[in-house]
């Protein structure tokens, strides 16, 4: 006990605890979600049935009773389990209100319900499947290569540091700072909303892992200088200098010019 109490304030302990906590969460999560990829692509009969029930309740008013689409929503035949998982688990679907685009929010359905709905949609027609944990493993990916691919394929909309940006008429490319590897992968293979599809043929899984590794590196990148100003680059920094710093200089100049009492 003395050994522990003597060292518990060591900064290394905090790191260890964090790693242990992350590991515990990761193991629990993979235990829950590991079953998913195998089942989602095929989908057990119960899952498909449950999914259909959930679909009819929550989705069919826009996407049609047979997922054939309607005036209010596109067809879901052939979009695949990955599209359902991306849209529903990030809370983009069901749509809260019609607008320029669906925004991410607190998801309505839990992990099992999403898996069931994914299985149902996947049972209608083949489409991109939910990635396996092997597909998502970016531990051996080349971050620098990922950076090159990100700047060629992603940065035009999501900004070089993944901060997102504006599209036309109120649409926007979202900020990637909260995106998980699974969401990144699913977005690339399904092309949600305005985003084009980056298929596994034109951007192989190895390259997707590199892009994921780059985004994860951006998410973890420290900001030693403090205020990152949204990592928007020289425009934001210049504005800060002109407004805040110059105001301070002008204040100092005024003080110098005022006569003492």
């Amino acid at each position: 006990m003395k050994f522990i109490s003597a060292r518990r304030r060591n900064p290394f302990v905090a790191v260890l605890l964090l790693v242990a906590a992350l590991g515990a969460v990761g193991i629990t999560f993979s235990a829950v979600s590991n079953i998913q990829p195998a089942q989602a692509s095929l989908g057990t009969q119960t899952q498909v049935e449950d999914g259909k029930k959930l679909y009819l309740e929550g989705c069919s008013s826009c996407h049609g009773l047979d997922a054939q689409g309607s005036m209010n929503g596109p067809t879901l035949i052939g979009v695949g389990a990955a599209a359902v998982h991306f849209q529903v688990s990030t809370g983009r679907m069901p749509l809260a209100a019609p607008g320029a685009q669906a925004t991410a929010k607190e998801p309505i359905y839990d992990v099992e319900e999403v898996a069931a709905m994914s299985a149902y949609i996947a049972s209608l027609a083949p489409g991109p499947a939910i990635p396996t944990s092997e597909d998502l493993d970016y531990s051996n990916a080349d971050v620098a290569e990922g950076g090159v691919l990100f700047r060629i394929n992603c940065a035009q909309c999501h900004q070089a540091a993944g901060q997102g940006g504006a599209l036309t008429q109120g649409k926007y490319a979202p900020n990637l700072m909260q995106a998980t590897p699974q969401e990144i992968y699913e977005a690339m293979v399904t092309g949600p909303q305005s985003m084009p599809v980056f298929s596994n043929e034109t951007l192989p899984i190895k390259d997707k892992q590199a892009v994921t590794a780059y985004i994860m590196a951006l998410q973890e990148a420290p900001s030693p200088g403090g205020l990152s100003l949204g990592r928007l680059g020289p425009v934001a920094e210049g504005l800060f200098m002109w407004v805040a710093v110059f105001a301070a200089f002008i204040g100092a100049a005024v003080w110098i010019g005022i006569k003492a009492r």
């Binding site: 090159v148 035009q156 305005s194 006569k259």
Partner: protein, 358 residues
């Protein structure tokens, strides 16, 4: 020339308020028109001593912070991180060094200003300046000099000299203009217009994706897909030419849409089963664009918001661009890879003088 001339009257101490103030021994006296207000430190010796102590303590405190900054530099681990509200997690060493040294410098400056404001002589003085206009006699002298120079040089008399000098001066800028024209390094035998109007794309040139440089098959590209692409062999050309001009001109994007959604193209059958190839270079001022919305088929330039409709011949539907995005006709070769069937029909990128008005 500016010089500070204190105005002094006979006794050197009477201002408009009738009080005796500015130190007479320095020979300063207030200007009659400017009302003079005494400072607390002028009238109250205690306040003056307080001000003295205040300035001295600022300088002393500065010494403390200078020493602290050296101590911080030596003792704080340069990778240590500290949490500060608003700023978040920042480097501890950076923050402490910046604060201690910054405060030290600020205190020296602030002390000097306080010293000047509270203790140094405080008298309104007039700084006399010359008129901006020259004296009349200087004007006359300059005019006379010019006249004399004209007379003595015989500029009006020696007609031949005058004309030959004017001719030489007129020709002098020509070399500069010629050099400017050739800032563009033109390979021998080619003119700039031709270089700007042609790219690496030729009949049968394979299309490779940017970044991976692998050839693209039509079945690789799903509906809604986007690929930034280049001609095969681009890296070799780039290396040979030692510049990125070839890449800049030949950069394209491949998009695939449902063939029924393609309303028009720049040429009959220039797509391949719904796959369209367009230049990646904006026709406004040449920004590379791949900001493609797969649902609306709009291509948006982030620089000035020019928007092109790729389902409608790359027509400009918004923004300052004046020309359609040039389309590249494509097909597949016998091995099933996407190829270009000819070069762009119009020059890519922004306009230039010699470009046809299309």
């Amino acid at each position: 020339m500016n010089e500070i001339t204190p105005m002094s009257d006979e006794n050197g101490e009477v201002g408009n308020d009738g009080h005796s103030h500015a130190p007479a021994k320095l020979g300063y006296s207030p200007v009659a028109e400017i009302p003079h207000r005494l400072r607390v430190t002028d009238t109250d010796p205690k306040a003056a001593r307080r001000a003295e102590r205040q300035v001295a303590s600022m300088f002393t405190l500065s010494m403390v912070f200078i020493i602290l900054s050296v101590v911080a530099y030596v003792t704080i681990d340069k990778f240590a991180v500290v949490y500060i509200p608003v700023l978040g997690e920042v480097g501890a060493s950076n923050v402490v060094l910046g604060l201690t040294f910054g405060i030290a410098v600020f205190l020296i400056g602030a002390g000097a200003i306080q010293w000047a404001k509270k203790l140094m002589p405080d008298v309104e003085v007039v700084q006399e300046r010359h008129d901006m206009v020259s004296e009349k006699e200087d004007d006359n002298l300059a005019a006379a000099n010019y006249e004399r120079g004209r007379e003595e040089s015989g500029f009006a008399r020696y007609k031949m000299i005058r004309r030959s000098l004017l001719g030489a001066m007129a020709l002098l800028p020509i070399p500069i203009i010629v050099v400017l024209r050739d800032l563009w390094i033109t390979p021998p035998g080619e003119n700039p217009t031709e270089i700007l109007s042609t790219t690496l794309w030729t009949k049968g040139k394979r299309i490779v994706s940017d970044g991976t440089y692998l050839p693209v098959r039509p079945e690789d590209l799903p509906v809604g897909g986007l690929v930034s692409a280049l001609p095969e062999g681009i890296l070799e050309v780039q290396e040979e030419e030692h510049n990125l001009n070839a890449r800049g001109k030949a950069a394209i994007i491949l998009v695939r849409m449902d063939p029924e959604q393609i309303r028009s193209q720049q040429g009959e059958g220039w797509d391949y089963n719904g796959i369209l190839a367009y230049s990646k270079i904006c026709t406004h001022v040449g920004c590379p664009i791949a900001l493609y919305e797969q649902r609306t088929h709009h291509l948006l330039c982030p620089c000035h918001q020019s928007t092109f409709d790729l389902a409608d011949s790359g027509a400009v539907i918004f923004g300052p661009a004046a020309r359609n995005m040039p389309q590249l006709p494509i097909s597949v070769d016998e091995e099933g890879y996407l190829i270009s069937t000819q070069d762009f029909a119009v020059p890519v990128g922004p306009s230039f003088w010699e470009r046809d008005r299309t």
